[in-house]
Symmetry: C2
Subunit: 135 residues, 2 copies
Amino acid sequence: MNEDGHKFRTGWLDERTVTVYKPKPEHMAIPGFVYGGLLASLIDCHGTGSAALALHRKNGHEVGDGAEPPRFVTGSLHVDFLKPTPEGIPLKAVGTIHEIHPKKWRVETEVFAGDTLCAKGEVIAVVMPSTFAVK
Amino acid sequence: MNEDGHKFRTGWLDERTVTVYKPKPEHMAIPGFVYGGLLASLIDCHGTGSAALALHRKNGHEVGDGAEPPRFVTGSLHVDFLKPTPEGIPLKAVGTIHEIHPKKWRVETEVFAGDTLCAKGEVIAVVMPSTFAVK
């Protein structure tokens, strides 16, 4: 519902998940490079999206079958920045998903710019508590 | 130099550092709440800014004395999300800085929305390598 949000879209690639995102000019850190917060945001949203896909599939559903996917929030986020990330090319986040228990999933993510592994991340995603009420 | 950047500004508060930032409407996750990526970005930039202030002071300088402060990049970022973060009120990041060695600093940060501790983070900040050339 956020018109100016990043609108990350996460999908399956075999047993892994993929989010592709092209940073915008306002995401530069210094000229030529993407700022770390954008990579952290990508890993964060890719993590919760991946967990949602995995639980949805475990519940017998696939995106588009009409059932509402579960929603997750981020419990914790860790990012290791490995290489400066060039701007102007799409970033690809590839995730591997581990079930800790049905309401808590761990997603390990690698972010590539072209063939270069720029960052690695881990998200602990938890099913959105009912107290996290939408106004 | 990024007109659309967050433009976080970090300053001293005794031996700790503070960054205050008011999220914008486009930073909402679901209506009423700030998205985690913004908190991660705040902790990231607060961490590198705090390390720059600390090394600058160690080198005998204060902001505004004419000397160019050192620049840092983020080696790693960890965020624990503790509470949903309400939108519409300024966030305050408060940092405690530890020198690991002169080119590598650890910054522990707490992010408050009003009196509520919403997130805790840790950044390992390293002096920007000369290979990270500005175009």
